[in-house]
Every structure is written in structure tokens, then in C-alpha cells.
Symmetry: D5
Subunit: 116 residues, 10 copies
Amino acid sequence: MPTRPSKTLETFPNPHPDRDYEIELTCPEFTTLCPLTGQPDFATFTITYTPGPRCVELKSLKLYLWSYRDEGHFHEDVTNIVLDDLVAALDPRRIAVEAVFNVRGGIRTVVRASYP
Amino acid sequence: MPTRPSKTLETFPNPHPDRDYEIELTCPEFTTLCPLTGQPDFATFTITYTPGPRCVELKSLKLYLWSYRDEGHFHEDVTNIVLDDLVAALDPRRIAVEAVFNVRGGIRTVVRASYP
Amino acid sequence: MPTRPSKTLETFPNPHPDRDYEIELTCPEFTTLCPLTGQPDFATFTITYTPGPRCVELKSLKLYLWSYRDEGHFHEDVTNIVLDDLVAALDPRRIAVEAVFNVRGGIRTVVRASYP
Amino acid sequence: MPTRPSKTLETFPNPHPDRDYEIELTCPEFTTLCPLTGQPDFATFTITYTPGPRCVELKSLKLYLWSYRDEGHFHEDVTNIVLDDLVAALDPRRIAVEAVFNVRGGIRTVVRASYP
Amino acid sequence: MPTRPSKTLETFPNPHPDRDYEIELTCPEFTTLCPLTGQPDFATFTITYTPGPRCVELKSLKLYLWSYRDEGHFHEDVTNIVLDDLVAALDPRRIAVEAVFNVRGGIRTVVRASYP
Amino acid sequence: MPTRPSKTLETFPNPHPDRDYEIELTCPEFTTLCPLTGQPDFATFTITYTPGPRCVELKSLKLYLWSYRDEGHFHEDVTNIVLDDLVAALDPRRIAVEAVFNVRGGIRTVVRASYP
Amino acid sequence: MPTRPSKTLETFPNPHPDRDYEIELTCPEFTTLCPLTGQPDFATFTITYTPGPRCVELKSLKLYLWSYRDEGHFHEDVTNIVLDDLVAALDPRRIAVEAVFNVRGGIRTVVRASYP
Amino acid sequence: MPTRPSKTLETFPNPHPDRDYEIELTCPEFTTLCPLTGQPDFATFTITYTPGPRCVELKSLKLYLWSYRDEGHFHEDVTNIVLDDLVAALDPRRIAVEAVFNVRGGIRTVVRASYP
Amino acid sequence: MPTRPSKTLETFPNPHPDRDYEIELTCPEFTTLCPLTGQPDFATFTITYTPGPRCVELKSLKLYLWSYRDEGHFHEDVTNIVLDDLVAALDPRRIAVEAVFNVRGGIRTVVRASYP
Amino acid sequence: MPTRPSKTLETFPNPHPDRDYEIELTCPEFTTLCPLTGQPDFATFTITYTPGPRCVELKSLKLYLWSYRDEGHFHEDVTNIVLDDLVAALDPRRIAVEAVFNVRGGIRTVVRASYP
């Protein structure tokens, strides 16, 4: 049975919870729709976090990012929503999300948000 | 009213039909679904053609490539279908399509087809 | 009806006003005229800001940068004017503008200004 | 007195008319307007020719390319017009023009034309 | 149940058997053992072929390349064996295999073989 | 007799124990198995440390990294284990380990851990 | 009448004297002579300054750098002299000069000096 | 006693006169003066030749290129003169000269000439 | 007992003598002495050959290249000697040697020779 | 008479002793022997210092680095020895030495040491 997009971020226990270390995940296959025109937008997301009690499971993150494919979102907003969802699921010590959107109207947009 | 994906390739008359010249269009925003797993695939299409009576209109090409977003296609097949559709719409003197698909299972796939 | 260049920077409410996050906009299509010789100058502008109450709307920014096309401006001056206009329109928490001008007389010029 | 854009291509006698040699000129500062929307387009032109009786004078070429700044032209058309004008002015043994236009609608366009 | 390495190359029917087109597969994750020292070697394989009746299935190719992980092979030999196996499984119109091996003793080795 | 993989990290006395200096070792040939699927994973390890009483011997480090070839390890875990083993063997003044894993499911993972 | 090299650095009033902003000028066309052998040396100068009351005029800077063409100077010395002359002419808030000299005897030299 | 620029190209006997092999010399330190404005021009010369009876001596080539430093030459002309001088001095089986001149007026010029 | 430089090129039987395939070996660690000044020269050798009856053994090639370390050789000559020695040892179907020497006197030299 | 390798570092008086400025010297032509196997090692040295009373003379530095060609040294040790010798000869305000050694056993080593 094929997998499906999902908003659920699955996690697993941090195998080294006593150490302050960093995980960086780069996902060049993010796509969503423009809420005004309905046209596709494309971005590369880079998620960098220091895990607290739990780490994000890679396949679940892929499905989570896939879940934006048929939704409408503005650049600035969706980057912050991804950050909020990751904070809620992982309770990380610290986390940063960077989204590099493809050129539109001759302008490239990058949005960077972090917690705390 | 927002634009919508469409299989129709609009064209305009070649402004210099007497000359054998070349147009190269690079479209890094192609995405379709895997027919087996339903998961998204991503590719960069490069279309290089010598126009015959007509040239492809840029916005229409964008909508045409968008039309694959919710369909299921194999790499080898979709590259040839895009080529066939462009040949039918443009009747070009010659044309080549190259599709560079993102890594899957540690392997990057490129498909190249041309006419005649 | 075709769009036209305009000095007006349109904005929209910051969707996440409680968070200190960053937006970076890269615009390689800036051109203006030299006030002394009347000849065209070309630059890439990179605008990086942390939004306060409002974000700049992308299409409006494109039209704003376009408005310099037929005006005469010195490198050092125009970079600061763009910064001033963005500060006035956005009231950002902080903002930086970098303009990389094409080589003239064998010399490449970069101007960087920031607020506050 | 400032220089002005001009359609006239000035030339000088080929200093080595007996030899079949090549001159390549790369001009990243070409801009024109879209005839449909009036918005600016940007391109890098590369002109490669084997001179016949005459060579193109560099400053005059700069003014010639500048002359497109306030005119409306389609990508495919303007590349061929530049080629035609250079052929008329230079009577070269052979010449090729390549124009790389900036991304529009997520698609980058390159047009290549040559003579004879 | 986890997948396992396998020498079997699975194939599927060429969806466009009437056209002479090209498929290029890049696999940077090849590793085998040196027959003399038992130490690991690493290579990037690039397989470029024009399919005849059948195409190679991507996951099966991954498992096939994996099957060399615990075997001992010399650079020159293993490249030719991979080519032979692909020819036997696919009966391609033409095929080329390039293997770029990591530096050993300060020397980088590339082996390139093709059929017919 | 061929060498064999080994968990033992051999060391030699720091030739300049009075100075606080840095050694950076980049090892692009790390491979291990996924504990869930049994499939190979690949990574580039970069180890940067300021030696205390002892330095790690290069050939021994190669054998140590080789020892993971037939074991099953998660990305986050194995990076921390390598760090722990190096700390135990070297008693360094400070040390950082960065592991860049190949793309899986369209996502590239980097893990960075350091001591103290 | 052709222009001539000159030691005079012309300046113009800083158009935004109240703001602390940065101007970076990159000049890859610096050449001077070795005082020992008389042979030409070549360098790329990068000048980065925060203007005080005045900015350096671009053409005058080009002529100033040209003035070293027939003089003999050591790498370390000429970089500091250029810095001193710019400080005297501009009274900048701060300024840095970096000169990257071409390889001589297999060694590339970079000199970096700053004020205050 | 310091060396001096010289138009004389010294040569030595081709050590393998029976073989058709190639020597490529890249010289990024060419500078001359514009005959109209007197201002310096800069270029990288690449000389590729198959020696006949004699090869060019490297230091002599350096002094030869240096000899253009205080002379006035147009781009197209000087490239052909360098070719003519090398042909006269070396009697090569074949030779090509490429000169890449720095940007002037926003345009980069490359001149390529060859013999026979 | 440590290995020593040696002029002997060891070979092994070509494992696929019936196929016309290519082996490329890149060796960035070649050094020899200038016969005139006694000073070290450095080069990267790339050897590309189609084996006949035998292939060159990698470690032996390393020792062979090492053997030039304390000898005096001119650029043009040593490249041809390496080619001659490889032809004598391997009897290849065809072979090419390219040597890229480091900059001397501001000039980079590449020598390329091939057989037959 | 040819020059010879020498351990002596010649110096000249700092022409701007009152200013705290930086000199960076990059030397890609360092080679020494492995004390265990006798085989050649290769490295690029980058020396960055702020001169005190004296600067290092370039040709003398070249001869000094050459003096390691026939000696046996470990990576970690030789980097520190070079630093010690430069400190003794120059009495610099501060100095850093970075040595990037070529890949051995699939591992690249960088050593960085500084004073004070």
C-alpha cells in the first residue's frame, strides 16, 4: 500500500540525551501552492536542531513536508509553521529553519526562523 | 481568477522562420508522482529545439509542466511523453528533451530523448 | 493592462509578529542611470530584514526597484535611499541592504548599509 | 556631453584580414521590455564572430545594446535582430549570437542564432 | 523483512521501444573489497544506455551494486563485469559504464567500458 | 596477511604537548548498515581535535572506521559513539565530529557532536 | 586628450554622512615593478571603508592605482602606502586594504592592513 | 643586474621532434596600453602549440610578453602579432593563441587566432 | 622495510583483453628537479590508456613516478619519457599522457603527448 | 650556480613597524618523506602573520620549505617545527601555520598551529 502525506511528525528517543549536539536536515523537495494564484512554489528547507528528549524520524519528516503539496501557503508563514510543528513534536534545546524559495518575479526569497 | 494546470501547449508564429536557430528552455520545477508508491518525484527539464513554423509560449509551457503535478508517471515514460507533446504542438525542425530526476535510493536518473 | 514602475512599497501584516525571524530577498535585476554620463548601471540588491509589524509584498518590491530604471543615481546614494524607503514602509526590527554593482573602469563596487 | 543609446554599429578595418580568427564579446548588461506586459527583461549576450573586412568597435556595441533599453522585444525576435544588424554592419565570415535571459515563470530561456 | 543484496537485475519493458533515447544512472555508493589486502574500495558508477526491449529497474540496480560490498574485485575487472551483466539483462542498443574510484596511493583511477 | 577492521584506536605521543594546536581529519569513506532495513548508509566524517597527551594514528583510524562496515547503526547514534571512542582513546583538550550522510528519501543528514 | 596616471585621489561629499555604512571596491588590475629585479608584479586590491566626510571618486581611484605601474615597490610596503594615502584623502571612520599578489617562486602573498 | 623586457623569443631544440605532441602555456600577466586613451589593458594569454624543430624557452616568453607593457595595441591586433612572432620563432606544426581581455564598458573580449 | 622509488613498471594481464576500454589514472604528486637551477618542479600527471595485453599495477606506477624526485628533467622531455616508458611496459592499444606543471615565472605549462 | 635548500630564514625590516597588519603566504609545493615508510608526502602550507620587527624574505622561505624534501617528518610534528622556526626568525606579533596534507589511506589531514 503506498505511503501518504501526513501532518504527523514521528519521533524516536534521543540516543545521547546528555550531550548538546546538532542535527542538520536538508530537504530540497518542498513544494506548496501560492494562496493567491494557486500556482506551485518550490523551496529547499534546512532544519538544524539540538535534540532534547526526542529526534525526528526521517521518513516521517519526508511525509510531513509532502503534506504541504496541495495546500496554499505564503513563504513567510509556512516557514514559521514548520518551525512551530517541529518545536511541538521535538521539544528541542534549540532549532532553526531556513527555507530558500525559487525565484519569482526576478527575486529569490529566503526565510529564516529559530527557537528559542 | 487563478491560473490552472493545462495539457494545452500554446504557440506563436516563429518570428524568423527562414533561419535555423535554437531555443533552450530550462525548467527546474517539474514534479510528478511515482505510479507505484504515490510519492512525489522531482526533475529539471531542459528543452532545446529549432523552431519550425511555431514557438512554444512560455507561460503555457509552465502550465503544461504543472499539469503533471497530480499524475503518476515513470521517469522514462514521462520524458518521452513531454517530447511527443512538444513535437505535436510545434512541428519543430529538431528537438531534444533532457530530464534530470532527484536522487532515489542513492541513484540519480537522467533521461534524454530527441526528435527526429 | 501592463504593470508600471512605482515608488510605492506595498506591505502585508507580519504573520508571526511575536517571533524575531529573518527574510532575505535577492534581486539581481536592478538598473539605473549614471547621473554624470547618463549610461546604465547594473546591480544585484540583497535585502535582509527582521520584520516588525509588516512584511514587504514581493511584486511591489519588484515594481519599486524597477522605478529606478530611468532615474540617475550614484551607487553610494541609491543604496541608502533604498534602505531609507524600506525602513519607512516596514518599520523593521532591523534591516540590511547590500548592492553589488557591475565592474566600471576595472573596479567592482559593493555598498552595504543597515538599520538601526 | 553624455553619450546616448544608438542603433549605429561603428566598425574599424580588420587589422589581419588574411587570417581566419575569432572574436568573442560577452555583454551581461542587456535589458529590454516585454512587449506584452511592459516589464523589464534581462539577458547576457555572447557574440562570437570571424571578422571579414571590418571589426565592431566596442563602445559602439555598448551603445547599440543600450538602445534596446526602452523598446519592447520578444526573446526569440531580439536575438535574431541583433544577429541581423551585426551581419549587416560587419559582413563577417561567420557569426553566432547567444542570449541567456533571466528566469521568468520558473523557466530560463536561451536563444542561439548564427550566420551563415 | 529487510531487503538483501542480489546479483539479479530486474527489468521492465521499454515504454518507448521505437525511439533511440538515453538513460543515465549515477550511483555514488558503490563499494567492494580489494582482493589483495581485503580493504574497502569506493567508487561512483555512471551507467548510460539506450534501451532496447527492456529498462533496468532502479531498486534492483541498487541491490545489484550492493552485492559487491563483501566481494573482492579489482578496479578494471569489476567495471567490465558490471557492463557484461547489464548487457546480458537489458540487451541495450548501446551502453557505457564509467567507474570513478577514490584515491589510493595518491592516484585516482577511472575505468570506462562500453558496448558494442 | 591482509589488514582487518578493528575497534582499537592506536595513538602516539603528542610531539608538541605544550601547544594548543588543531588536527583535522576528513574521511569520506565511512559506511555502515541501517539497523531497520539492513541497507548500506554512507557518510563523510570530519574529526577536528586539539590533542592532549596523544594523537590518533592514521592507519588505525582507517581500520576503526572500517569496523562499522558490517554493523547496524543509526546516524545520530554512530556519530556520538565515534566521538566517545575518540575521547576515550585520546583524552583530547577538545574535539568535534561531523558526519555528512548521503541523501535518503530526498533528505541529507548532518550530525555534529563535540567534547567537552 | 588621453587620461594619465596620477597620485591625486579625488573625493566627493558622503551623501549619507549620518549613517555608518560600508563601501567595498575590488580592483584586479594593479601592477607595479619589483624594486630588486625590475620585473612586473600583479595584484588584486580590495578596499573596504566606512566613509566619514568624503567618498573616493571611482575614476580617480583607477588613475591612482595606475600610478604604481612604472614604480618599484615591495608587496608589504605598497599595501600600507595605499592605505595611508586613502586615510589621508578620505578621513574614513574605518578602512581596510587587502592586496592579493600573483604567485612568485611558488608562493602567493596576501597583505592586509587596516585603520584605525 | 635586473632582467629587461625584450622582443626576442629564445628557443631550444624540441627534445622529441618525431612525435606530434602539444604544449600549452597560460600567462595571466599580460598588460598593454590602449592606443586611443593610453590607459592600461589586461589579458590572460593561452598559447597552445605542437612543436616543430624548436620549443619556446619559458623565461624568454615571459620577457617577450612583458615587452608589451609600455606599448599601445588594440586587442584584435596584438593577439595576431603574438601569434605571428611565435610562428616566426618556432616554425611550429600548429599553434593557437587565445587572449581573454578584462571587462571594458561592461563587455569582455576574447580573441582567438591560430596557424596554419 | 620501506619501499623505494623504482623505474620498473610492473603490470598484470588485462582481465578483459577482448574489449576496447579505457583506464584513466590521475597522479597529482609528481615532482622532479629543474636541470638548470636544481630547484623542485611539481606537476599533476593524467595517464589515459586502452590496455592491450597488460595493465599497469597502481603501486608500481606510484614508485615509478616517485623515481623522478631526485632527477633533473625539463617539462617537455619528462612527459614524453613517461609516455615512452608506459608504451614499452604496456604495449597499449592507445595511450595519452598530460602533465600540468605549477606556475613558474607567472606561466603555467601543460604538456600533452599520445601514442600512437 | 644553482640555489640550494637551506634551513636559514632570511628576513628584512618591517617597513611599517608601527601598524598591526597581516601577511599571508600560501605555499602549495611542500613535500617531505614519511619517517616510517620513506615515501613522499605532499602538503600546502599557509602562513599568516602580523610582523613585529622583521618580515620573512620570500625566496628564503621557498628554500626553507624545500629543505624538508629529503628529510623524514610526521605531519603533526613538521607543522609545529615550521611554526617554531618562523617565530624564532621573525619574532612576530602573532602567527598561524596551516598545513593541508594530501589524502593517505582515504583520509585527508590538516594541522593548524599558532603563536602566541
